[in-house]
């Protein structure tokens, strides 16, 4: 790229100009995102002092038993278990992970045909209208959308009264307060996040490759399996990560759909941070949740690395 002749070299080099321009946004993110996340990490290895954090390094917020430090400097008699040693935290973590995996699988599997349809079967001029239609529900109040699912699946809800009205069932189905209900609600909430990356990947596929596949005698389905699907895996992988990572920290759905009876890890983080005022343990649980998500994501990426090779 040639620099125009009369261009005043006002801010100097490319790097300096770029850095200067991005610095307000970057500083904002460093101060209000990177620093708080780093603080969470530091807090998780400090001692809890009821409402304060005492800068005394230890790992008991993760493993073993911890004692909070009292105002007079002595240790509290009643200890608490670290995040990895506490069976309750372990149960909630396993449940959150299970819900996230189920939601991710459901969302991505249900979304793929939709992305495929919009990319391959819709006229070019109408594609953005379809995408717009798909994203609209996503932009409406999350709390209300989650609550509406409660209205749909409750004992006297839409689905039960519909099925009873048609005399398909006599007794209402028990759907509220179940993990399945949470999975449906979350799969609904994250739908566009799964559809859009897959759509983008499908759009990039050279259509002549598909014709070549069929010219060489493959059936349409075989062409899909051997050409389209592998080429769209980058989108599928992106969709998996973009659904899986935020889902594990969902807070509203366990409260509204689970009725508070099936808490997830986010509810535990809230409880420790606010109600129990144990910020050290709360931080340790938050860090552990991110570790679990990060680990699963890395394993998933490693399993799919052959699809990512040679791209980007």
């Amino acid at each position: 790229m040639s620099e125009p002749l009369k261009r005043p070299r006002f801010w100097g080099s490319q790097a300096a100009s770029g850095l200067a321009l991005i610095s307000p946004t970057a500083l904002y993110a460093i101060l209000l995102l990177a620093a708080p996340l780093a603080a969470t990490l530091v807090y998780s290895v400090m001692t809890d002092g009821y409402l304060t954090i005492i800068p005394h390094f230890q790992l008991c917020n993760y493993i073993g038993e911890c004692h909070s430090q009292l105002a007079d400097g002595t240790q509290s008699r009643d200890g608490y278990l670290g995040a990895w040693s506490d069976p309750i935290v372990r149960t909630l973590m396993a449940r959150s992970l299970l819900v996230s995996v189920l939601v991710t699988a459901a969302t991505v599997l249900l979304a793929y045909p939709v992305a495929y349809f919009v990319s391959f079967n819709v006229e070019a001029s109408k594609k953005s209208l379809w995408l717009f239609m798909i994203t609209i529900p996503f932009w409406t109040s999350y709390v209300i959308r989650v609550f509406m699912w409660n209205v749909m699946i409750s004992r006297t809800g839409v689905i039960n009264s519909f099925l009873q009205g048609l005399h398909i069932i006599t007794d209402p189905l028990q759907m509220s307060f179940t993990i399945q209900a949470m999975v449906i609600t979350l799969a609904h909430a994250y739908a566009p996040f799964a559809i859009l990356p897959i759509y983008v990947a499908l759009e990039k596929i050279d259509r002549s490759l598909l014709e070549a596949g069929q010219d060489l005698g493959e059936t349409r389905f075989a062409t899909f399996l051997r050409v389209t699907l592998p080429l769209s895996m980058t989108g599928v992988i992106a969709a998996v990560l973009i659904v899986f990572i935020p889902t594990i920290g969902d807070y509203v759905t366990p409260n509204l759909i689970g009725g508070g009876k099936i808490p997830m890890i986010a509810n535990m983080i809230e409880k420790q941070m606010l109600k129990a005022d144990n910020r050290a343990l709360g931080s340790a649980i938050a860090v552990s949740a991110m570790l679990v998500v990060g680990l699963v994501s890395v394993v998933f990426l490693a399993l799919n690395r052959r699809y990512l090779k040679g791209q980007k």
Partner: protein, 268 residues
């Protein structure tokens, strides 16, 4: 004739997506405090209640203030980042953009809690302002995504022509680039406004108890007798959201038409 399986599936999927927001207005006009079938009759009572609720009016005012401030700030920060990332090549761009875009995938509860703990330990009291701080963090990645495509579709030769004709960098930005990306900026502001208006977790944890629309709604849902009012309020909100989105989409398309780029799809 071939059965269009995929088309039927996709329409079915859209029905699934739209189910909650289609059912919402049905109950908003239903003359019963029980949110269940069969419907009892038509009433506009719930809407009347909504318009006479003083706390709700207060929450609305707070929400508009927060969403407005968030939209302006996040779009400003998003414009800078998107412009820097599309116009200049520099090593730090990758990691910095990664950090700026992180809130898009980071579980909100973790972000909100981390921010809360730091704000409290630094001694900043919770207020509407702290909610704005959090919302800007949440919204900036969306603004960056929209504005990156706006800046990418810019023809660089237009900018160079302005330099050749003797304009400086600031007047070039003001006279050439800004008008061309203006639709993108408006679109980003509308999207950020919508996100902030609907956002719950940050509003819940970083607020001082001052009601916002989302926290007000969440609180009311615990009382069954208030649920029909929320259905009415939700109907209004969904209407407003869809209007704002349609406007955002209109501006986004106009921006693409103005720069002569091909329309490649949605917001993200």
């Amino acid at each position: 004739m071939k059965i269009p399986v995929l088309r039927i599936y996709t329409i079915g999927y859209l029905l699934f997506l739209y189910c909650p927001i289609v059912i919402l207005p049905i109950f908003a006009f239903n003359n019963s405090t029980a949110v269940a079938f069969p419907l009892q009759g038509f009433t506009s009572q719930w809407f009347v209640n909504v318009f006479h609720d003083a706390v709700l009016g207060h929450a609305l005012k707070n929400s508009l203030l927060v969403a407005g401030s968030t939209a302006v700030l996040a779009t400003f920060l998003g414009t800078l980042a998107a412009r820097a990332n599309t116009r200049y090549q520099f090593k730090a761009a990758g990691p910095l953009m990664g950090l700026i875009m992180l809130p898009m995938v980071l579980p909100e509860i973790i972000m909100a809690m981390a921010l809360l703990v730091v704000l409290l330990s630094v001694g900043i009291p919770l207020s509407l302002f702290t909610i704005v701080l959090g919302h800007v963090l949440v919204c900036t990645p969306f603004a960056v995504a929209i504005l990156t495509s706006a800046f990418q579709s810019l023809d660089k030769s237009l900018e160079e022509a302005a330099y050749d004709l003797g304009e400086g960098p600031f007047s070039t930005f003001r006279l050439i680039i800004l008008p061309l990306v203006m639709p993108g900026i408006i679109s980003a502001m509308l999207i950020c406004f919508t996100i902030s208006l609907d956002e719950f977790i940050v509003a819940n944890f970083l607020g001082s108890g001052e009601p916002l629309l989302s926290t007000f709604i969440y609180g009311q849902l615990r009382f069954p007798k208030n649920v029909p009012n929320i259905m009415a309020l939700g109907t209004i909100l969904v209407g407003v959201s869809i209007t704002l989105l349609a406007l955002a989409e209109f501006f986004r398309r106009r921006g693409l038409a103005r720069t002569g780029a091909k329309d490649t799809g949605g917001f993200l």
